[in-house]
């Protein structure tokens, strides 16, 4: 087929221009901005003050930023394991021929269609409420007074309370991605293995899981991106003032760019940009590592 270069250019140019304007330019501007002290995010370039790598050095020596990174790591690693495991388990169960499959799938996915604000309020004010919360009431009913006395939002438990609530909402989303991957696996493979005497566990270990590698990679990448952008839940669990148990790099970035909630603090959008660059690098590293560690299956089906 003869290629018409003019037509290719005509059709590609608008997309390329838009891509550069919407993606490439902001990325480059953020990288450059991270080398400057910028009071306001919309300050003109003439008002930027060059500081070299000072913003990065400042992040490296600020214990609160390090705390936020540790929280992010815990959310990504522990939350990731829980969400991936449960998502995969539910997906396998739902595709094992159980009755009311659509109903259960809708129920597990439901938290994703509810606003995070409503969900977090429900968890804080209904489940974790120390006076008449679901956990307190249930433990009291069961006579487990020591568990009923736990304040789930104190400094010891708040991070875990937040993580549990967040994972509750995320399982359905990743379950759906796993489920679509499982549905693509030809049914004959399972039928043949059943005739050969394979148990359900063996079928999962030797057929389902190996054929879901690319889906797992997608899920890990998606989870990494949403974890890095962890913000709303953190804000809702620590309204008004930030908290060591719930602060994440995105919240720290917000504080630097827009200032603290109650007080007029010094703002530095350049420092916020440095946080953004650092987080972007984290996602790229996770993506590269995932691609290296989880090889695509050679099988075609």
């Amino acid at each position: 087929m003869k290629r018409n270069k003019t037509m290719i250019i005509v059709f590609l140019t608008p997309a390329l221009v838009l891509f550069c304007a919407i993606f490439v330019y902001p990325i480059l501007r953020t990288i450059v901005m991270s080398l400057f002290k910028v009071e306001n995010i919309t300050s003109g370039i003439a008002q930027w003050q060059y500081v070299g790598f000072q913003n990065y050095k400042s992040l490296a020596t600020t214990s609160l930023f390090k705390t936020s990174l540790l929280n992010l790591l815990r959310i990504w690693a522990i939350g990731g394991m829980v969400v991936m495991s449960l998502g995969l388990l539910f997906a396998v169960i739902l595709n094992s021929g159980i009755r009311f499959k659509n109903f259960f799938r809708a129920v597990i996915y439901m938290p994703n269609i509810i606003s995070a604000v409503a969900l977090a309020t429900m968890w804080i004010q209904f489940v974790y409420n120390p006076r008449f919360g679901l956990l307190t009431s249930t433990f009291k009913l069961l006579g487990m007074d020591s568990l009923a006395a736990i304040n789930w939002t104190d400094t010891t438990h708040k991070f875990w309370a937040l993580l549990f609530a967040y994972c509750f909402g995320m399982v359905g989303y990743h379950m759906l991605i796993f489920s679509s991957g499982i549905e693509k696996i030809p049914q004959e493979l399972f039928e043949a293995s059943t005739i050969d005497g394979a148990s359900k566990v063996q079928q999962f270990r030797l057929i389902t899981f190996p054929l879901l590698r690319s889906v797992l990679k997608t899920n890990i990448t998606m989870w990494s991106i949403t974890s890095v952008a962890f913000f709303v839940w953190s804000q809702l669990f620590s309204m008004v003032t930030a908290d060591t148990q719930t602060i994440t790099p995105m919240v720290y970035m917000y504080l630097q760019v827009f200032g603290a909630g109650n007080v007029i603090s010094e703002r530095n959008a350049g420092l916020g940009a440095a946080v953004g660059v650092f987080l972007g690098l984290c996602v790229v590293i996770v993506f590269v590592l995932t691609n290296r560690l989880i090889k695509n299956e050679d099988l075609e089906f």
Binding site: N40, I41, T42, M239, T241, A242, A260, I264
Partner: protein, 412 residues
Amino acid sequence: MKKRILCLLLACVLTLMVIGPVFAEGKTIVYWSMWSASEPQAIAIAEAVKAYEAASGNTVDLQFKGRTGMREGLQPALDAGTVIDLFDEDIDRVNVAWGNYLLDLEDLAKATDYEATAISGLIAAAREVAGGTLKSIPYQPFVYTMFYNQEIFAEAGIESVPTTWEEFLAACEKIKAAGYIPFTTDDAYVMTNFGYHLARYGGQDLVIDVVTNGNWAETPEVLKVAQDYEDLYNKGYLSSTFGTAAWPTNQNGEFALGDVAMYLNGSWLPNEVRGITGPDFQWGAFAYPTVPGGTDGLDAGNFGGQVYGINKNTEVAEEAFEIIRTVTKGEYDLKLSVESVGIPADTTNTEWPAALAAVKEVMANLAVRYEWSAGSENNPNMTPIIKENFQKLCTGNLTAQGFVDAMEAASN
């Protein structure tokens, strides 16, 4: 035929849309507000704006942006050249963070004799934060004070409100003996307990010095604060979830439902919990007590308000100021006060909501203005760390000396 008629109608509508504004009477004032449209303050402001429009023939483009919307969006919008003539937000944010965008209002205020019926302390505060000139007009004044449940105080046999720490401890003992928890707060406000107490010992400058320069171990007053709150915990005067419950759990729960006697908070508290307390709740208020050997008295406290600012580039400054006058004076100031259970900004509106009657005396005695939480949140890199350790102190998970050591270690 139908198509022709439809085309004709469409053409007429478009023509009207294009030429309509040219023949429209009056001016348009764009007003960005920090309230959310469903809040009582927003409802009262919207009524005042309608009244202004009816009286002046001008049009007000009133947009309720919410607090986050203002914090994130106002400055970028102004930088981008968006027409915003009038805006409102917290007194410090408007004057400090957005000070460069403000029109000096001295002449407009003089021309209308605005100050004759304004709260002088608030106007002075507005001038102070703007560097000596009036660049904002306060409304919805607030004062940070110790709220208490009068019924519990009466039942406990407390005849007068405590003014010193010794009296405060005695009151706590009586409340505890009467079967109530004396004192509570939520995580959102626990820093104000720390800030106020340290400021009572050494003034706000000491608080700011400690939190910004990390002089925790070098400042003996810090240990005194920690010891006082450790003492409150050890004597059973603090709620078991003091400062650790996620806001608004304790203000809506144990305080509003009548299990706890006292809560240190802003004068917006009665409005926030009125749906829970109902109209019969007996509100009381007193200034945070003085401490032994402390520098600050009952006349020092955090007070302020929302303020109006006018864009220095506006072409409708007089009209914008007239809107301010409509909202902050007379009928609509009173309406705002009643609807939001707030303090009136107009001194001729002498009738305060019943829930705030006791606050009136506290406010009248104030002479020294603290910043928010007496400056204890002035170092955002340290605020969450101070908060965590103070929460631990108040729930028995850290001793007073342990608190000082933890803060000293964190600040190094």
